[in-house]
Symmetry: C2
DNA sequence: CGCGGGTTTGATGATGCTCAAGCCCGGTGG
DNA sequence: CCACCGGGCTTGAGCATCATCAAACCCGCG
């Protein structure tokens, strides 16, 4: 249950077994069945979630553009709406399970208390955020200066398995293109292969 | 010289005067004249920079698309290529002064040593990265689902002063549109005002 | 077997890019 | 002091990419 968490943290910082025990206690396991929501628009993001098994998506259900997928989360990844989690303001996003999913949740208070008990974790989360920041900045650059096809090719290069795991129209939304365009790109790409 | 830094850090965390003294010593002041580079493509980002006065831009000089502006930095902001700074890999970006500019630099080693001397700073940078991450994610969403005009209007709403400070073609690049398009949008917008 | 969501395919159109020319304005040198 | 130069902004015309709308198709599931 806590194995993956243990492993992921220890990839970035060293931790004694005692420290990890304290850490564990701050989390509450939860399972979500396919399509179930972890967070809904207008609610407050009370938890930061660590994904054990399954897959989730965070999306904004925009007025005109239907839904747009902000990010996915797979085992070993963290997910929440940071803004809402940090400020306590209601969120504009939704987080939903794409499959039956198991997560570990930590509330804001428990999270902050944890930093006092195990200060090293402050570093772990700094590193995590740094990586997320870098990744998001890259995605931004890609969305600013690549064509639809280039974006798609970059994605399958970076995460080849994502195609099997999530429906195509969500990939399209994640890339900021329509499902029709993605379909045509894939057709096109399959010839040149 | 170190006033703004002091102020900015204390907005997020509390620090004794001693701690701030230690902190100060880790930084080296530097001035850049207009157009001078703080970082150039293929070099390693050895420093994290805190902007005292002036303005900078980080940009990628892409093959076909000319230059695209990734971000600006104004007084009180931090700037570097995080990826290169963290990994020691050569950067693909450039950082250049838009005006005569004064910055405080900290090298990677000094930065990490500083966390051992003043562990609270770990928290400061975590918070900083969290905010950057949130901001970048928003920009990404905006670039994915807003029209050129909406993006421009969001920008002047969020940072009304930016127009005076940086040339229009850089704003265009930052928004991921051409200078011509931005010009037309501005003309258009000035009628409806 | 038939329904329904997701994907594909086609036809049409809009947004924003490209290319090209003109304009404005500040700086420089005659 | 003024003419000239050049960079950046503007304006226009044509065009490419991708979105929209609509219909057909595919396939798993009740």
């Amino acid at each position: 249950m806590y194995e993956l968490l243990n492993q992921k943290i220890r990839e970035k910082i060293s931790l004694t077994d005692d420290e990890f025990q304290i850490c564990k206690q701050a989390f509450v396991p939860k399972t979500l069945h396919k399509h179930q929501y972890l967070l809904q628009q207008d609610d407050v993001a009370r938890y930061l979630a660590f994904v054990n098994e399954g897959a989730l998506r965070m999306f904004a259900s925009g007025e005109k553009n239907g839904e747009i997928v902000i990010q996915f989360a797979f085992p070993g990844w963290w997910i929440t709406d940071n803004f809402s989690f940090l400020t306590g303001e209601p969120t504009v996003y939704n987080i939903q399970a794409l499959e039956n999913t198991s997560v570990l949740l930590i509330g804001k208070q428990a999270w902050e208390d944890l930093f006092d008990k195990v200060p090293k974790l402050e570093r772990y989360f700094r590193i995590l955020l740094q990586n997320n920041y870098i990744a998001t900045q890259r995605r931004l650059v890609s969305s600013l200066c690549q064509t639809a096809e280039e974006k798609y090719l970059s994605l399958i290069k970076a995460q080849p398995d994502i195609i099997q795991r999530v429906p195509q129209h969500m990939i399209a939304s994640y890339l900021g293109i329509t499902p029709e365009t993605l379909s045509r790109i894939r057709k096109q790409a399959s010839y040149t292969r």
